[in-house]
Symmetry: C2
């Protein structure tokens, strides 16, 4: 068990999550568990039950989590003051993320919800720093350093799999668990990552015409494994997500005498994953499925979590299943073949993760945006692994979207409606999501949920990526499109922020606020 | 906890299973658990480890099972000789099924595998009978009585739900568990059995044209509940299981702005359950689903276990999902509206349950066949509940058909191929299964797995029901049809009996034995 300690703002959660991904271990943040179990935010627990009430909950959770076999745990800043927790720490590898007082204050400055900062933060800092040093097996300088870099250094130290250039992120869903493999050139090593496939005789690689030439490496791997592997081509982009294409795929499988033990590999962007994933989930009541996503959007989002989808004339993604793959193999070398605008659209989903879960990701993104849009292998691999870890964590908590998985729809209620409106034909999904997040920021601002700073950060991140932030759209047309939204529950609901990294789902909005939002979406830069 | 004790042949497993269904409790047979855990038959455990080795395993399982909260347990005949088990029995309601020595010997006579009968069965009987009497809280005369009658008497005594004329059988699948409700006139009380349906606004009752007039009772119930309920009509029989009909249903749902919280009710035979169940599993990634099966085949088999299916030109049921309903409501009054030949075809699946799981069901069936084919409510309710309990038990053990669920395909490998061959157009599924079971009996006999008596019992049961037992079919045409069988694994495999009530899946058969089987299928009566 690896336990991360340090003052608030040291980056324990961010570094912990990346480290866990690199080591292929489960990650846990004790504050998040306390909040989830009580259904209250930490600051509200302090308010309602006082510090001692919070410490009691924290002690219980920490004992439980540190008592598990392997994993990475981020502890609350004050946990080291609890003798019971300290006893448990003696059996863990304790990593102290050492950050200076000024840097810590700068990082948490924006977050006024930290309950321990009320009295004398400097005294608290000095007192805790001594305890951290005493407990630490490893001390890491966390000033001015990227969380990825720190996590890589720690992964090397703890001898994880991350050291051979491959990150393996586990999506934990009981007997449906699987890995997301992220790295450079990993498709050339596909057989290392494939599941066992008892009784499989054939493999069907479903892809778009333009990717056909890139499929030979994969076919070689599958053939080496003894599978009769062939490529099946479907139309480009969203056009493949039709019931007609699905029917053609069923016929192709039947003609080739596919059986339920045989393998389907999807090779391409989110659309081919949606469509061929749907076919895999429904042919012979379900065949083994492997996703090899080639776009940034698919690598960081669409390929993880098991959603499959087909469009109807009446609406996008109206037909579909939740069907988990056996493994997702994200080879970032394919990103170099993507048009720059497609990469840019994918960045919208990265920004989404920043806002709903990991604000530090936004800073790295703004800093590295040029390298990312140039498909630099090192930068893309790090970004994809970080996003995959966030998505894996959310999906593991809530496979069927009855809880936190809804956060992933941040910006998407607006985006889906925009995509549906004919006027927006040709708008990329990521571009629609960018506009949708901007709208969500305005709406949260109109409802008094977030301040100007959070709205500005939306503008800053989206404009750094060169993503669109405005749309000429009227409320009645949106309302008509929302009627068929899958998340519609006796009225449309939104995912909105209540602070940076703090999303809330199922928020209703009065018509007036929506009208103001659309006005700002039309006029503000 | 209710524990059934008694000598071998007393009917502990059969009565226990029916009783558990009537009380809505889990059922467990300790012998079956020991066999499942070791992967060995009881007789082989005796052979390999001696009686003491078996008793050790039995003690462990009995302690675990009797230690659970509520349930019905059938104990092995000799379990009462173990002091540790007796201690546990002091906390259970012990029911002694009292059967005379001659009757017990008659019942187990056919089963030469009983290891304890080797020495002096009479002495064993006398010795154990004393122990049973001492332990019993209730003693029931089990000579010359129907297991249903005994179970009903016990259900009354233990105050179960079975007393108001409704049996509730639980399909245990974790958070996907549900009840199969069996009774007379239960659809008029539908709202008692429906799930909670948070946020549902609409209900779609999918049915065939000829059942449309019977749907009003159901619509009343749904409307009372505040749902906007409407009927959607699909073509009769297998014709509704096409991708075209599925597409029409999707469009109908989209036009009526159905959402994932809304309800789909299937009302009809297995075909409408397969097709509308498939739509429910794939529209908006899954809507709540309720089956109201109206045919014997659907009530005892198709509606339980979550299989949905659509046909392709290339083969039956090639597309589908595993998607569990929220409840299955079997109202046996509908069976009176079924043509006699349709009821007869459904009896084939009842006979199947007899051969794979509960041979005593065959005796009841042969005795009650006239009342059953006349749709007598009392007889049909008892038969449906018994079969539903068997299917529920198997599905609970193996939702995705990687193990014992395959036993349900007894006779079906032949049947599916027969249905596929054009020469057999018009053959009912149940009729094909009847021929298929006869073929499976011949094949098992050819392979030396079963004796003449078991083959004769196939003939006796099938001819009592007036089901077909012969077919003019050649091996090459069957082989072609098998190529696309979903169970095909590098060659076709069969479910065959190794004794009455002892199926085995995945059996390969040499071509010569298949040729002999088809010869007998053509010529023997």
């Amino acid at each position: 068990m690896i336990a991360l300690v340090g003052f608030m703002g040291a980056g324990k959660t961010t570094v912990g999550r990346i480290l866990a991904a690199k080591l292929g271990l489960p990650f846990c943040d004790t504050d998040a568990v306390v909040a989830a179990r009580t259904g209250m935010e930490i600051r509200d627990i302090f308010r309602a039950r006082g510090e001692s009430g919070f410490r009691e909950l924290e002690r219980e959770v920490a004992a439980e989590v540190l008592g598990r076999g392997e994993g990475v745990v981020a502890l609350g800043g004050g946990a080291v003051g609890d003798p019971a927790i300290v006893t448990h720490l003696h059996e863990a590898e304790v990593v102290y993320l050492d950050v200076g007082y000024d840097e810590a204050m700068r990082r948490v400055g924006a977050d006024k919800g930290r309950p321990m900062l009320a009295d004398d933060p400097r005294a608290l800092f000095d007192q805790r720093t001594g305890t951290y040093r005493n407990l630490a097996d490893v001390t890491v300088d966390a000033n001015d350093r990227d969380p990825d870099e720190i996590a890589s250094e720690l992964a090397l130290r703890f001898g994880g799999r991350g050291t051979n250039g491959v990150d393996r992120i586990r999506v934990r869903l009981g007997d449906r668990s699987y890995d997301v493999v992220v790295g450079v050139g990993v498709v050339a090593r596909l057989n290392e990552f494939l599941p066992e496939l008892p009784n499989a005789e054939k493999a069907f690689v479903v892809t778009h015409p333009n990717l056909r030439p890139y499929a030979s490496e994969m076919l070689d791997q599958l053939t080496t494994r003894g599978l009769d592997a062939r490529v099946v081509v479907v139309p480009d982009g969203e056009r493949c997500k039709s019931l007609d294409v699905v029917t053609d795929l069923y016929d192709e499988l039947a003609q080739n005498q596919a059986h339920r033990h045989d393998l389907i590999v999807t090779f391409g962007g989110g659309a081919v994953g949606d469509c061929a994933g749907y076919v895999a989930s429904t042919y012979a009541r379900g065949m083994p499925l492997v996703h090899v996503p080639t776009t940034l959007l698919a690598q960081v989002d669409a390929s993880i979590g098991g959603k499959t989808a087909v469009n109807l004339t009446a609406g996008k993604n109206l037909v579909g299943t939740i069907y988990q793959p056996s493994v997702v193999v994200c080879d970032v070398t394919y990103l170099a073949t993507c048009p720059r605008d497609e990469l840019r659209a994918g960045v919208a989903e990265v920004i989404k993760y920043g806002f709903i879960s990991d604000p530090s990701l936004l800073r790295s993104l703004i800093r590295d945006i040029d390298a990312l849009l140039a498909a630099d292998a090192k930068v893309t691999a790090a970004v994809v692994a970080r996003c995959a870890a966030i998505k894996a964590e959310i999906v593991s908590l809530d496979e069927r979207e009855t809880g936190p998985r809804a956060y992933l729809n941040y910006g998407h209620t607006f985006a889906h409606a925009l995509e549906k409106l004919h006027a927006f034909a040709g708008l990329r999904h990521g571009e629609a999501v960018a506009i949708g997040m901007m709208a969500a920021a305005y709406l949260a601002h109109e409802l008094g949920r977030i301040d100007d700073g959070v709205v500005d950060l939306h503008r800053e991140a989206l404009s750094a990526a060169g993503l669109p932030m405005t749309a000429l759209v009227e409320l009645p047309e949106l309302e008509e499109a929302w009627q068929l939204d899958k998340k519609y529950k006796k009225g449309v609901r939104f995912v909105l922020l209540s602070a940076l990294g703090r999303p809330e789902a199922g928020v209703e909005a009065p018509r007036q606020a929506l009208l103001r939002t659309l006005e700002r979406l039309r006029s503000e830069p």
